[in-house]
Symmetry: none
Subunit: 211 residues, 4 copies
DNA sequence: TATGAATGAGGTTTCATTCAT
DNA sequence: CATGAATGAAACCTCATTCAT
């Protein structure tokens, strides 16, 4: 009953509203795209009406922005440490497992929406750049951590190679998530093989038979 | 002016209309998503009016379906032979080059839309399954061709491994195309490294440093 | 093969097309109203495409006009003589039977459409007036025929009374058709009672109990 | 300004909106038919914009449904008592006067629309059946009240005859209203003659001349 | 904060009509 | 005469947003 307690309660209530709306938005954006997701559907899924939405967000684009930031934050603070905590040589397997079973379905699809909106919503440019930079930084972090864990930093990896490796790894992750979202029943071995293949040092002899 | 000359004018005209509409739709769907692409924008881009669309397609969803099938067909008849035509040992490099520079832009983003619509449009399920099945079959075909070309079939590759390899390769290809379509300036070396890593025989010792 | 025969055939073919289109239009107009009936639906029901329609009629309103005239003509040349041919005292029963079982379903509904269109289509005014006049003339004809058949002309029926009787009879017919078109299972006895009641000379004592 | 004063403002406002929309719809439906009445015209006539309509009704068909029910209710609560309140022996004349001068205009034309939509909108079947059933019940009630008022129940009227009389009377009322709504300038004498004719006991000798 | 009535732009779709065949 | 591709106006309906409560 103290003002202290009340204020706290209020803030918590609103935080919960925002959280629920963001969760619902993630599902709707992933399922129907940004343009196809209606605010009514989002608020209804969250158990509110549209008024609650406009009390918490300025526009629909604003919602997508906050959602993207929230997803990125969660990945950095939750998923990434979990993967990195695994001991080598299980780290790749752990990453594969996370991608296939724990990565929120549709997170990739939200990213696609964000990229799509850039031309028509120039104000999103900054956020998108920040997100992209963070993604690349994340991959870089994984690689660095791997180096460290191996206690065997590969000094031969120059900037260009590092960039190529980062892009390849990101492509691998996106490809796996997309296939999964398309309904393909991916095996853990496939995901692991892909990740391990990317991370493995390139063989020197290219004349060897394929595979 | 002879009957000969004008014989098929009617059918040809409509075929051209359909083709143009499909091309325009590919660009609009890729750029704005299915829900965000308006029929007015599609027809205007193709140089027609709204009515032309409804003379050729029943609904917007119908258009996406036909577009997906057309893209799938083109991939099988154009992209696949192009990649297979390359001589070893350059096949991987050739595939990477094709993926980054010649593969039609936006095709992956259309695929994403298809995946999105699946839950709400169950009739799309068949098309998507056919698409992914054909894609996996295509990848398998590439692998078989590679084995044959190498005159060195790898007998140690059992069915499960073959499946994992196929899925991993498809994920790699999709990931590369998606990253490219999202605007990332991919290097040829990144694409080549990814593909080669997947195709390389997995090293037996997993204690080797990552990367 | 003679020009005579050919010309005849052509004319017959076109006449058949017009007839079929008119029949189909009657059903569609009755079922969906003038605005709700589409030319595609009409021509499809008749087994043609929309081109056939525009080869035979100028506009949709034109079709309604011709249809109304055709229905009126058929009534005058077919139904009316049949009713009048019945001997007294069966004429009323015959009329009731015709109304409930043979009068084309929806003929009334077409009339309503015509009346509705008058304000927005001033060019229809003349036709509607002609139709109304013919309807009243028809009722008048029935009454006259009845007088004649009874060989008992009622000289006491002045102009005002004649008008009232005519309106009452028309209202009775419309009411029966409407109820029938609404799906009420009308009994022949109800129709007969209504018609006979209208035609019967008004009783002089109004203080008698109802009915 | 007191909470008291504003207590129901919100609900009252919306109720007024609905009422106005229903009134406007009645006029537009009567004038142009269901398909021919546009929602824009209805809302404009009511002094609102399109959106107000969709805040109050789900679809255009839904509007017709609610309108029909409202008209039905008004008929039972307003028209029926008005007619029954007339004292004998003027009841027939009073009923005729009410029908021609006070019965809401266009109601019959809305009913026609309802009949039209039945085949294509099966969900309307129940409403139509209820409408006609209630109308017949209403007529029956009038007849019973008349019997009672006359303190002279007609015992010779068996169930079948009662049914025929009810149907005939309803047909007469509907026919009069429809003719009036179609623009015919009906005379009171015509309406009175029709009603009196139906209510009069059928003459036993059918060989009597018509009229 | 949250509600929901109302707005109005814009979307998909229908359809009367035209015209080249 | 009949076809049907294309037009484009106008319909129904959705939905982001505003605002009084």
């Amino acid at each position: 009953m103290s003002p202290q307690r009340r204020r706290q309660t209020r803030a918590q209530t609103q935080a919960k509203t925002r959280t629920r709306l963001l969760e619902a938005a993630a599902e709707e954006f992933a399922a129907h795209g940004f343009a196809g997701a209606s605010i009514d559907a989002i608020t209804a899924r969250a158990g509110y009406t549209r008024g609650a939405f406009y009390s918490n967000f300025a526009t629909k684009a604003d919602l997508l922005l906050e959602l993207s930031e929230a997803q990125m934050a969660r990945f950095s603070t939750t998923a990434l440490p979990a993967i990195l905590a695994a001991t080598e040589p299980d780290r790749t397997a752990e990453a594969a497992r996370y991608l296939l079973t724990e990565a929120p379905a549709g997170e990739l699809l939200v990213l696609v929406e964000l990229a799509r909106l850039r031309p028509s919503h120039p104000e999103l440019g900054g956020v998108i750049d920040r997100l992209t930079a963070r993604s690349l930084a994340f991959v870089d972090e994984v690689l660095t951590a791997a180096d460290t864990a191996a206690e065997q930093p590969n000094p031969s990896l120059d900037a260009a190679e590092r960039r190529a490796l980062t892009q390849a790894l990101l492509a691998a992750v996106l490809g796996l998530l997309l296939l999964r979202d398309l309904g393909v029943d991916l095996g853990l071995d496939a995901a692991e093989r892909l990740l391990r293949g990317v991370l493995a040092p390139p063989s020197d002899d290219t004349e060897g038979g394929p595979r």
